[in-house]
């Protein structure tokens, strides 16, 4: 009986809600068929005037990915406050969101402990923060309305736009006209600038995270090994003792610097590419097979989860590698 009551919302079994949403999906598809949106790489500003103007930053516009950032931050802070309230009550068996957070954090902590050993305390916060932030940000892609509710604007150059029709008195929707779009006059065609766009589809965010990850790796390496960490890059240990191979070792050390920069590139493009391609996939599938978009939402659910965990886990692995000496000593920290 207990499990039965859990599967109800307002006394109605959950399966009827699923049926209701399926019917709504079909109806919405019949009355307001989706149009193929313009794929836009840089984030669009929602306000047309700069929020502030700095000497270094130039004009700073409020973009729709920035809105997503604020929403994700608020969600994370609310989650943290909820967990804190429940934990300070002293319940030993957490339920709901607290239980989920505890499970995630325990998994992350165990993973860090098996890899990083005694540096777990320094590395765990980065792993946990990056994973939780990227997870929340990626899963915002699945919320209806993200990427699809926004201002109507004149199409940008190189873009056709679509005609609009009213849904209610002052809410409009784009629709695909019977003939070619070009037959509608240019002034009557509009394009959508969404209020919220998934944050990971903005390169600024992913590059920022990658920079934090790589720079803090160097900081943790310096903390763990002291100045001898720098011999990883400027390998002068064998420069004089082994005449020719020393020079080769020095060159290999210099190559390590390049590999750090390529880490920034691969970190940022991995997250950006996966999530951007995912949202383009959702756009296109929503246009081609409007009713069968749901399996792709499930796919994106997993892609978002995997990318969040991979970003955090790679950060953790690089950091724990940095705490291990580069030479032939101090090995055995890794599992």
């Amino acid at each position: 009986m207990n499990s039965n009551s859990k599967n109800r919302i307002f006394g109605i079994p959950n399966r009827y809600y699923v049926l209701l949403f399926l019917i709504l999906l079909v109806l919405a598809q019949i009355f307001f068929p989706p149009v193929r949106p313009h794929v836009q790489l840089p984030a669009e500003p929602i306000l047309h005037y700069p929020v502030f103007q700095g000497a270094v930053t130039g004009q700073f516009f409020w973009t729709n990915t920035l809105t997503a950032m604020v929403i994700a931050d608020i969600l994370l802070v609310l989650m943290a406050l909820t967990v804190r309230r429940v934990v300070s009550k002293g319940e030993m068996v957490p339920k709901g969101i607290t239980g989920a957070v505890e499970a995630i954090l325990e998994m992350i902590h165990n993973l860090t402990e098996t890899t990083a050993g005694k540096w777990t305390k320094a590395i765990f916060p980065f792993f946990a923060t990056i994973t939780l932030l990227v997870l929340v940000v990626n899963w915002m892609e699945l919320i209806p309305g993200v990427d699809s509710i926004g201002f109507l604007e004149q199409p940008r150059p190189g873009e056709l736009g679509f005609p609009i029709k009213p849904v209610t008195s002052n809410i409009y929707t784009l629709y695909q006209p019977k003939g070619a779009v070009q037959t509608i006059q240019a002034g009557d065609r509009y394009t959508l600038v969404p209020f919220v766009r998934v944050l990971s589809t903005d390169l600024n965010f992913t590059v920022a995270l990658a920079l934090i990850s790589v720079v803090m790796t160097q900081v943790i390496g310096l903390r763990a090994l002291g100045p001898s960490y720098l011999t990883k890059y400027f390998n002068v240990k064998t420069l004089f003792s082994r005449p020719i191979f020393g020079v080769i070792d020095f060159g290999v050390g210099l190559l390590e610097i390049i590999s750090e920069f390529s880490k920034i590139l691969s970190f940022s493009f991995r997250l950006f590419g996966n999530i951007f391609a995912g949202s383009v996939l959702l756009f296109v599938m929503g246009t081609l097979l409007p009713i069968l978009q749901s399996p792709f939402l499930l796919l994106e659910f997993f892609v978002g989860l995997i990318q969040a965990v991979v970003f955090g886990m790679l950060t953790m692995v690089f950091m724990s590698l940095a705490t291990i000496g580069h030479g032939d000593h101090e090995e055995g920290h890794a599992s």
């Binding site: 493009f269 590419g273 391609a277 886990m313």
Partner: protein, 75 residues
């Protein structure tokens, strides 16, 4: 050939690079599954490393995808 056609062809050519990533992911999973079949107790550890390896191999495919998307939608 006009610029629009060249764009489409270029985007398609850019995606050829994913061949390598596909083969790489296949090899990674092959090794991981064999390891897990021989030693099921280690499957948790193997799985974590397998996902890391897949992520590395997939990054190359994602570079191709980003290049293709850039060709299609930016230039």
């Amino acid at each position: 050939m006009d610029a629009a056609a060249a764009k489409l062809i270029g985007a398609g050519l850019a995606m050829i690079g994913t061949i390598g990533a596909g083969a790489g992911i296949g090899i990674v999973v092959n090794g991981a599954v064999q390891g897990m079949a021989r030693n099921p107790d280690a499957s948790g550890n193997v799985q974590v490393n397998m996902i890391l390896g897949i992520a590395f191999a997939e990054a190359v495919a994602i570079y191709c995808l980003v290049v293709a998307l850039l060709i299609l939608f930016v230039f």
